[in-house]
Subunit: 363 residues, 4 copies
């Protein structure tokens, strides 16, 4: 079940970076949702390698095929199987991974845990695995849009290395995010970020950063205390993405320096609805969405695979060094933006179905 | 399943802050573990209210009883039911909660989600719910100790408001943590923290902070990519605790300003084992423990319930104000330390059993 | 998870026949359902020992207490914890079970699996465990009644030993079932069954039989192929009851001697609904309820615990003999009737919530 | 999750009878198991249509491809995705299914539940779905064989219509089962069965029957009371197969006419092990395997799809008639034999891993 996510809208991803392909099976998608590959492909294109000069040059079309669960343009309520073939596999570029563990990568821990591993590329630990998530999330997003036309999930690059963007989560637009290859809606910051990424790549190095996200138009009442609080499931979803090291919602870590009287979001009535005058809660209170924008941030470490020489050990237990060949992103954040959106969509969609199953008696 | 946590070592907590009691059922604890209430009570005592002048004065003995699953001092392999009665319930102190939503508390969202709520105290959203987690985790810790005598889980208060402690996760001792009511092993910082807590309480206000934790002696190979990565399950566990707003592991958010060449933990052979020369990964790589100390931090917001008057709305939809009565912690962190340890123990214990089930073929 | 049943309406039972008590936690009951102990106690009274001279004389009041999840008479949407204390425990009556395995009972297999066991009474394998199921099912039945006032779940004793009752599943009434201690609505057969039970008890022996059940008024569309077909979940629920050896739905085993042209249930329109002219399917087609009465049968073996001397072995591995003391039912069927109804209610309630979560888009 | 089966060895099947293909994802297969398509194809060939003149003439190669989870001939511990393409789809043969519900088939209930359906062939309700199960079970069987070389799972056709075979579950051999297209090891009965099947096919009709199965060499201690008893999970697995109407284990329904003194399996010591002198329990006591052969029987109804004209209704709600075209089996049992074996293997494999996870402390 390690590769299964969600309770009612449940996805199971499969596939290694080098092998027959990658894919996902969605079990629990409601019937009668209009769906075709055209709903999925755009999100796959956003996470695809080779989109610009600041990401990995690996060439993959990442063309998806829906193999089941859809008939005459509508979902059947049966499992939806989506597959993307691997095409640009060059395992010979990874031959040293057979014998050497890349520092801070998953090579050593996979070998230790499983007693074997696919050392061609990252195997299962490759970001290529997220194709299945992004594909499934495209279905989740379509379902959410159908049920809640005002619901919008947006993520963007907020920080690269020490370059911070200025972005207002309440106002940021998808078009601004997509207007540059960094996926940072602050155009000036985006330029500097791109420059920094090119620079470190040139130096055989890498950088990390922070992705911020907002869910606007989320209905009140999603999230299931005590364990399946909305922020807990978001945290799990985000920390399940490769290269993530942190998650915070609303005021997050910076909110710890405020007093309760400063931090509390006062309530007011507005248009017949209960609203808050501030949003340090980040749209979630007591584990349940309160109707305000859900705002959260995810920390990504610098890419572990770098071409600089590093100290490491061999599979046979000898100290050695390694300078990675192969193709890799000097900064994962631009391509991680659709992954963050995907995990948010999967969490929300699952909780929409769960709340629907729970809220069955008249009020 | 919202109140169920874990896959093989699975706990289900129940209970409201005011009602018959609170408790937990553990389904999946291995048989033949020596167990009695004496193994559980000390951890409950650590999270109990009324321990010192910096926590809530609510008086609860929180005495646990094991109702099933243990026979002649050994676990049976059947569900272990543990119960703690509520004794010091004074629901009249909460009467205004019936009509007013406390800002940034769960009152409004519970009402919106469920269409009803137990407004006496925090109901299910009360920290009192964590008794079940702490009790179950005491069992998990005993099992972990039995299997891995060197495994040690320690949490402590690292920051209160703007006061930061200096603590070395590799060296911190349980005795130092427990040496003061703040549960901060830096005695000088602990004094200032206690002073600050008393001060804000006097002002009818509250403060938050950061709890840091370390797992030392963790075996290599725990955590199940891609979704049940160890850090993902830890993040979920921590964000499921009341008042949490953030989680980070290893370098966390601060690691985003490093380059890959600075951030990567180089491998070396040491004593026949693969070790790392630094630990910015925080003991987890690719979602799997690497044998180094697991280090993580959890952000807690300032307590939402404060006695200062705040703007809010009534259940019937009118703007109003509220100054909370009732008993509450001016700072949740000292009592949250055993909760953080508990969630870590539950995650680790579950993954130990899972890895045992998976690692079945000869190497 | 071995003691957890259900996906959305999920129950976790706990408790041994001798120990602090037995109980259940229901996680996932929708909020706003009127509920009190008075909704649960009648079903517990039906399964209680000591009701008549044909069941075990063990004296237990089996008085239930709701410990959480209900406030001011309404469910909260939080876990409902229900407990029944053990009172009439006489473990000394079971002392020989410490050393001898009862043939065809769970003593040996529990010892082999867990390496330990509670040998006082049946421990966890005792029918006393079903108290938690029956209590949870009383909640499920109340929810079902609220949502589907015409839905009715009835089980009765159809066969004891070689005595068969004549009962029409379409017409049988609850009052007729409860009109005699055997719970067989065919009064003449009931008399003979009671006589047979008394006879075998007098001979230190036991008998089994068949319980039949019907669900009338079930909505169309419950059951989730391919694995969670309604009949599959019913089969699992029934075979999870102690002493069961078989399950069949509709025509069951006897339907295997028919041809397709004889067995198929022809469709017809009736009152604007699709109906069938016969019901050999037993109300389920393709794993999904079709709106016709769901009819199924469950085989119960003769009680394993008998007072006649039998060949067995000791815990230390020596051939020996055993004549059971202690109190036991010479025929479990009368008390198993509410258990069968309980498992049916739990399965149906779970599938109602699941279908509600799935059927979210406009038709 | 409706298409997911198992807890630790968890499979998710996908696919319709007409569409891109069918397949399965196995999540939880232990690493380091030697595996290739050659381990899977033979079982697929056994369930394939077109094997003989007594099954459906649909021509499918059913060639499987492993798309992930295996590297250099060994399982990786990551999800194993297996796919079989649909090739001989002739949806035009099913055009009347668009407008007419086949009696006792899943057409009506799928339409009622999902509000849509794939009416080409049986869609998801087709026996073609079981390809995924059989493929996954081939992996489970290989794992079981590796761990327990003496463990053997055999199923055979015991009854067709009113023709009963004579077979001794303790002695039956795989070769005898496979020696004729009926898969009945009693050659004389097999001849009569084949004759009967040809006869009813000639009359545009169909027949059902009973499949019996045995698991020999099963280790003691599998099965997890109270809900996940071995027989409960077997019952669910079997009743999740298309066309099944009943399940019984050991003495089953016929055991209800015995007294306890006749039914109990006395224990004896034999070769240092606890054995039983009879096996009316069918290898399971208290929900846990006792080391004796596990013997169970599954009732299959006559195939619903027949070419004789039957009364039915149309999708638009009018009384009508239907004589099915398309290709179908006049008797599903010969091809259901590998399906029964498959579900047994999946249940056992899951419980082996579960017991391994539970049995962690020294005895």
């Amino acid at each position: 079940m390690a590769s299964t996510f969600g309770t009612l809208f449940r996805i199971s991803t499969w596939g290694e970076s080098h092998g027959g392909g990658v894919g996902v099976v969605i079990d629990g998608c409601p019937p009668r949702l209009p769906l075709s590959e055209a709903d999925i492909q755009p999100d796959l294109d956003r996470r695809r390698p080779g989109q610009s000069d600041i990401v990995t040059p690996r060439k993959e079309e990442d063309t998806c095929a829906i193999l089941s669960g859809v008939f005459r343009g509508l979902t059947l309520g049966t499992p939806i199987s989506i597959m993307v073939k691997n095409t640009d596999a060059r395992p010979e570029a990874y031959s040293e991974m057979e014998t050497h563990y890349r520092p801070s990568h998953a090579d050593f821990t996979y070998q230790a845990k499983y007693g074997t591993r696919n050392w061609e590329g990252g195997g299962r630990s490759s970001a290529r695995e997220t194709i299945g998530r992004v594909a499934a999330a495209a279905v989740a997003k379509k379902l959410l849009r159908t049920l809640y036309p005002d619901l919008e999930i947006l993520a963007w690059v907020a920080v690269v290395h020490d370059i911070e963007a200025e972005v207002d989560p309440d106002l940021v637009l998808a078009a601004d995010i997509e207007s540059n290859p960094v996926r940072c809606p602050d155009a000036a910051a985006a330029d500097r970020m791109a420059e920094r990424i090119r620079q470190v790549r040139g130096e055989g190095d890498s950088v990390g950063g922070i992705i911020e996200a907002v869910v606007r138009g989320c209905p009140v009442g999603l999230g299931e205390p005590v364990f399946d609080r909305l922020e807990a499931d978001l945290a799990k979803g985000m920390l399940s993405l490769p290269a993530t090291k942190g998650f915070e919602i609303g005021s997050g870590f910076s909110g710890t320096v405020l007093r309760g009287s400063e931090h509390n979001d006062a309530y007011k009535m507005e248009g017949g609805r209960v609203r808050t005058t501030s949003n340090l809660s980040g749209g979630v209170q007591g584990g349940i969405s309160n109707g305000e924008p859900i705002v959260f941030r995810v920390a990504f470490k610098p890419t572990a695979t770098i071409s600089r020489e590093q100290a490491t050990v061999t599979v046979s237990g000898e100290d050695s060094t390694l300078a990675a060949r192969g193709r890799h992103d000097p900064c994962v954040l631009p391509r991680a933006v659709p992954m963050v959106e995907a995990m948010a969509a999967l969490v929300l969609c699952d909780h929409v179905l769960r709340q629907r199953g729970l809220d069955i008696l008249p009020r």
